[in-house]
């Protein structure tokens, strides 16, 4: 139960440095909170208003009192334990909001003080920091995180010191993410070679009007843009760009890639008949595509979605017979087969 307590003038409710689990509200009389400014050491005296809480932060945070609560004239207070206090204010969000504002002002002030001391030191350049995080993740082959960091860098520092590299590495991250998946493939940073040296085929044309010197062709640029549109779940927008690339016959490699993605869009948009038709066509025209087995997988998935389990299974079986099957795909196919068997 909250406890009313009376104090005589010149008594002390708590000393700075004490540990205490009580929160107080002043009912009458005068109380001063005495502390020293942590910067100048100057004495600070804060008089509590009637109805005001004190001792909140140290009690809730379980750390030592930051000030001494000195009673100036005979005073009466009510003491709460932390749970009692929480119960009280939970019914009154206005009180919490008020305290939140007080605390956030204090926090902002402390934060600014700390930052001003730190900025005298070298290692707090957010521009470089952001860029280095991208590099770190690219080195660790965490391509989607690398892509995120580089893209953020380019958003905030479009003409920054590292914008050329950031632009190139953002595309590298994107390309490797698609090609190898996270955790696999080459680590790009620190190698002198162009990050696209591993991209075979496709005569790189100057990307007129493209955002940077990554050396990607127009089709490639468009393709990666559409892939990120897809990853933002804007499937129909992505689909129309992939269709554009596929019909442009600009860069054979990306035409094939785009064709594959069209099927993926259809499948993701639950157009299973369309996906089956498209991928069947794809498999016939590009039997040497590295995406062949994935295409077959999507055909199987589409049949499975349509409830045609037997047909789905025949595609899965076919994929598994086409050694070598890349590990990730193999797992996906095996999982799909299990789900069919469990469903049966």
């Amino acid at each position: 139960m909250p406890k009313p307590i009376n104090y005589k003038a010149n008594s002390v409710i708590y000393f700075r440095g004490d540990m205490g689990d009580k929160i107080y509200i002043l009912k009458g009389g005068r109380i001063s909170l005495n502390s020293n400014d942590i910067e100048t050491g100057q004495e600070i005296h804060d008089q509590i208003q009637t109805g005001e809480f004190f001792g909140v932060k140290s009690a809730m945070g379980k750390y030592p009192r930051e000030e001494t609560a000195l009673v100036l004239t005979d005073a009466s207070v009510i003491a709460f334990t932390v749970p009692e206090f929480e119960e009280l204010v939970a019914k009154n969000t206005r009180v919490i909001m008020k305290m939140l504002k007080v605390f956030s002002t204090q926090l902002r002030r402390m934060h600014a003080k700390v930052s001003s001391l730190l900025s005298q030191d070298a290692d707090s350049d957010p521009e470089e920091g952001l860029y280095r995080i991208g590099e770190y993740y690219l080195r660790k082959k965490e391509y989607s995180k690398a892509r995120y960091a580089f893209n953020k860098y380019l958003t905030y520092y479009p003409a920054g010191r590292f914008h050329k590299d950031a632009n190139q590495f953002a595309q590298t991250a994107e390309a490797y993410l698609l090609k190898y998946g996270s955790g696999k493939g080459p680590a790009a940073v620190g190698l002198a070679q162009s990050p696209h040296a591993t991209e075979s085929g496709g005569s790189p044309k100057e990307g007129a009007g493209s955002s940077g010197g990554g050396g990607l062709s127009n089709a490639a640029q468009k393709y990666y843009d559409a892939v990120s549109t897809f990853s933002r779940q804007q499937y129909s927008e992505a689909l129309s760009v992939f269709k554009e690339i596929a019909s442009s016959a600009d860069d054979e490699e990306y035409v094939v890639k785009a064709l594959f993605e069209i099927g993926r869009c259809l499948f993701t948009m639950n157009q299973f008949d369309g996906a089956i038709k498209h991928f069947t066509n794809f498999v016939q025209h590009y039997p040497k595509s590295p995406e062949l087995k994935d295409a077959l997988f999507y055909v199987g998935q589409s049949y499975q979605q349509k409830g045609e389990s037997e047909r789905a299974k025949s595609f899965y079986t076919k994929i598994l017979s086409m050694e070598p099957v890349e590990d990730g795909l193999k797992r996906k196919v095996q999982k799909a087969v299990r789900s069919l068997e469990e469903g049966a």
């Binding site: 932060k57 926090l107 902002r108 934060h111 003080k113 700390v114 080195r139």
Partner: protein
């Protein structure tokens, strides 16, 4: 986290497992309340990524953005498929008004942050680099419950890089100071931990340096 209605659905955002929700140094203007999944808070230091915390549904992160559009101080990564409510300075009062439990949670978080910042400030205002390093160990000591109160010895699972971060000095400098303490046998530096031989001696040392300042 129970919210009183679906009224907050419009603030809901989803992340896939492994997604960066935000990264360190990125300017931030929103904060998050986790509804589903776990969020890892990490910092990249040199060639290492250090996990600072793993947050569960019901917890808040990115809350410093309520104050100002300062760069994020750490990475937030979705450990699972994560659903969170995203708020900013303009709309967070709407959330708080109907949800005293969340407001209280935020209040507690701010309490802790004020203390942490204040404590950090006290380290930074020390003039003497050795005292700064020693005070970092005192701060770390305050944050943990000692395994054995009888003993003056304290074991910290930390690295010179961490100490450098807290002390606001370069890692090389931190290493130098720790080496020096080590040669005086006041500290033992091991690969995975740092042992302070007599924590009370560090308290006296830091206090003596602090008095000179003020």
């Amino acid at each position: 986290m129970e919210l009183n209605s679906g009224a907050f659905e419009r603030f809901a955002v989803k992340f896939q497992k492994g997604d960066l929700i935000f990264c360190e140094f990125e300017p931030g203007d929103s904060f998050y309340l986790i509804q589903q999944g776990r969020v890892q808070i990490s910092k990249v230091m040199g060639n290492l990524e250090k996990t600072i915390d793993i947050l569960q549904p019901g917890e808040i992160f990115g809350e410093m953005a309520i104050l100002e559009e300062a760069p994020r101080s750490a990475n937030a990564i979705a450990l699972d498929a994560v659903k969170a409510l995203e708020f900013n300075r303009e709309n967070f009062e709407i959330l708080m008004r109907g949800n005293p439990q969340i407001a209280l949670k935020l209040l507690k978080l701010f309490t802790k942050r004020v203390y942490d910042q204040r404590r950090r400030f006290m380290i930074l205002t020390l003039d003497d680099v050795s005292a700064k390093v020693a005070d970092v160990f005192l701060m770390l000591n305050e944050m943990k419950t000692p395994d054995n109160l009888e003993s003056d010895e304290r074991v910290f699972h930390t690295t010179p890089e961490d100490v450098a971060h807290w002390a606001g000095i370069s890692p090389e400098k931190a290493r130098d100071v720790i080496q020096h303490f080590s040669s005086q046998r006041r500290i033992e530096l091991l690969t995975d931990r740092i042992v302070v031989k007599n924590i009370n001696e560090f308290v006296r040392f830091v206090n003596s340096r602090r008095r000179q300042v003020s």
